[in-house]
């Protein structure tokens, strides 16, 4: 198995899990899903400069074989942005839970405590 196949399937699995979780009804799962998707995106961006093993991203006269440094810079920016976004989503869903009394993404209150317990079990 090539390195490309491994990375590509890792991205695919992360995205699949992420999409599943984002479509769930509770904010906590949605936040987890967003995190998974952002991991996948970061991996994807990282791989976009082609997968190169044992090569520095820096220019030096003795080095002939380089890794593309730009995707790494892009990933760094993307990580920072997604980190901030995730923190914001967590706070937002927490506030929404405290104000609306439910962690449902639609903000609809749960039918009854029993139904809620059943849904969580």
């Amino acid at each position: 198995m090539s390195l490309e196949f491994l990375v590509a399937s890792a991205i695919a699995v992360l995205v699949a899990g992420g999409i599943y979780l984002v479509l769930r009804a509770r904010t906590f799962q949605v936040v987890l899903g967003l995190t998974l998707i952002s991991y996948a995106i970061n991996l994807f961006l990282f791989a976009i400069g082609r997968l190169v093993v044992d090569a520095p991203p820096l220019y030096a006269k003795v080095v002939t074989h380089h890794a593309d440094p730009l995707p790494q810079a892009l990933v760094l920016t993307a990580i920072v942005i997604t980190f901030g976004m995730t923190a914001l989503t967590v706070i937002l869903s927490l506030r929404s839970f405290l104000e609306a009394g439910t962690d449902h993404v639609d903000g609809k209150p749960d039918a009854s405590p029993d139904a809620d317990a059943g849904a969580r079990a």
């Binding site: 967003l34 593309d68 942005i81 609306a100 903000g107």
Partner: protein, 506 residues
């Protein structure tokens, strides 16, 4: 480089400085901070006008940040389209800020002014940047600020809508990154001008991926622009937001359309091989649907803010109808429509605010209530705003729609375009008639009296100002269309953009 050259970065630097300063001063000296915030907006307006005047010589200017030349560094690019958008943003921002201060909307939380200026920073940056990744960053800046502004004032309803809004936009940003990654993987550049050159030189094996990248990129912009079927987040978000903030948001959907106008002819234009005009076939269909969904929403809305949100959707749809042909004349008509649509959308939200502030517990619900204070004045404003939004004479939307109809005559699918625009206008008229007569003509005298403190009439100032601007746009339609024609000509000639950014070396 002279000072004039550095002016290009002023629309980004001014709000970037104003935002933290207003935040620092706000707690101790509120009035001084308000003055600073207003001064920042006025300075931005001045810079925007200066750049607009600069762009009149029909030259496209590139500004290499830090002196790093394109395609290695990030460039800002000023052409006529960017200049028009900058002026529009600055004018809208000033009007909305004045309204927010007059109505006390900025006092519902601590950080209205910093967030407002960060929002402007993101908007201006998105209009000026010549680099796709930088465009992503500025989109994030304006989105992060908009999350804060959207939640300004808080309340359970706003928080619920806020969660959905944030999640949708984060997923959109993830898609944006995928599209960027694909483009970078194919061309090893993210500078838009350089992309335009390299896309033309791609081999046949890469054409499929290029199409995917083009469609993904357009999908992301369509999500930001709330194009049907990616519009579901918009009515709920804008309907739950404070009207003064929603008025500023009227330009946010148009940023998505702007990004399409900027990238599609440049990167996915006629030179792009299999990916030439790749989003075009899908855009017209969704634009027609968008205009229909928007105006039907105007008819069925249950509240004034929701109605205004659907009017924004409808205007985006109508605008995209003009854009999706990717012809110079249609684009010129569309740009004229864009400018007035932003002002008209903001006007609707501000009028909703003046009504809401006087109806106490009835809020903005489209149900009859006892007579409220200044009902006649508010009714007159609402009538004008409805005319401005739906496209009846004499206001600018009528001219805009007329221009779109005229420009699209004879192009493929023009009968669908004509039918849509004429029929949706009719539906919109009925929608506004229904809500206007419910609000202002029927009064339920036996219902509970309105519990609402008397309001000063200062909140009529900003809507009246917007109305005057719309009237001026109508009166100056000849001059304005000359401007948009010149802007469309620049956009549809990507080689000029490429030469301006990369110099004559390529």
């Amino acid at each position: 480089m002279t000072a004039i050259d550095h002016l290009l970065i002023a629309p980004i630097v001014v709000p970037a400085v104003t935002a933290p300063v207003t935040m620092l001063v706000m707690r101790r000296r509120r009035h001084f901070s308000l003055c600073l915030s207003l001064a920042g907006c006025v300075a931005m307006l001045a810079a925007a006008f200066a750049l607009f005047a600069l762009a009149q010589d029909d030259r496209i200017r590139a500004y290499a940040i830090g002196g790093w030349v394109a395609p290695y560094g990030i460039v800002l690019v000023l052409d006529r389209l960017a200049a028009i958008m900058l002026v529009l943003t600055a004018v809208l921002a000033l009007v909305v800020l004045v309204h927010a201060i007059l109505t006390g909307a900025d006092r519902k939380g601590w950080h209205f002014h910093p967030l407002f200026h960060f929002q402007l920073l993101g908007l201006n940056g998105a209009f000026l940047t010549g680099d796709l990744f930088n465009l992503f960053v500025f989109f994030e800046v304006l989105l992060i600020a908009s999350y804060g502004l959207m939640l300004h004032g808080q309340g359970a309803l706003r928080l619920k809508a806020g969660v959905a809004y944030v999640v949708v936009n984060i997923v959109g940003s993830a898609l944006f990154l995928v599209a960027l990654g694909l483009l970078y993987g194919l061309t090893a550049t993210l500078n838009m001008a350089d992309l335009a050159v390299r896309v033309a030189a791609l081999g046949p094996a890469d054409q499929g991926l290029l199409r995917v990248a083009g469609l993904l990129l357009t999908t992301v912009f369509a999500l930001k622009a709330a194009v049907v079927p990616l519009h579901l987040w918009l009515p709920r978000t804008y309907g739950a937001t404070m009207p003064a903030v929603a008025a500023l948001f009227a330009i946010m959907t148009k940023v998505g359309v702007y990004a399409m106008i900027r990238t599609v002819p440049l990167i996915f234009g006629a030179h792009a091989g299999a990916a030439a005009w790749v989003p075009a076939p899908y855009l017209l269909a969704s634009a027609i649907l968008g205009a229909a969904v928007g105006f039907v929403g105007v008819l069925t809305a249950r509240g004034l803010r929701e109605q205004a949100a659907f009017a924004v959707l409808a205007s985006t749809g109508t605008l995209l109808i003009a854009v999706s042909g990717w012809r110079e004349a249609m684009l010129a008509a569309g740009l004229y429509y864009l400018v007035q649509a932003v002002l008209a959308g903001a006007l609707l939200f501000l009028v909703a605010d003046t009504v809401m502030r006087r109806r106490g517990q009835y809020g903005d619900a489209l149900a009859s209530s006892p007579r409220f204070a200044d009902q006649d004045g508010a009714g007159l404003l609402y009538l004008s705003a409805a005319i401005a939004a739906v496209g009846l004479p004499p206001l600018a939307a009528f001219v805009g729609k007329l221009l779109i109809l005229d420009a699209s005559f004879g192009v493929p699918g023009w009968s669908a375009i004509w039918t849509t625009i004429l029929a949706t206008t009719f539906v919109g008229v009925i929608g506004f008639l229904r809500s206007g007569s419910t609000l202002f003509w029927k009064s339920a005298s036996d219902a509970d009296p309105i519990a609402c403190p008397p309001r000063a009439r200062t909140d009529f100032f900003a809507p009246a100002l917007l109305l005057a601007l719309l009237a001026a746009l109508t009166a100056g339609a000849g001059w304005m269309t000359a401007q948009t024609h010149a802007a469309a000509a620049q956009v549809m000639a990507p080689s000029r953009y490429v030469t301006a950014v990369l110099g004559g070396s390529r």
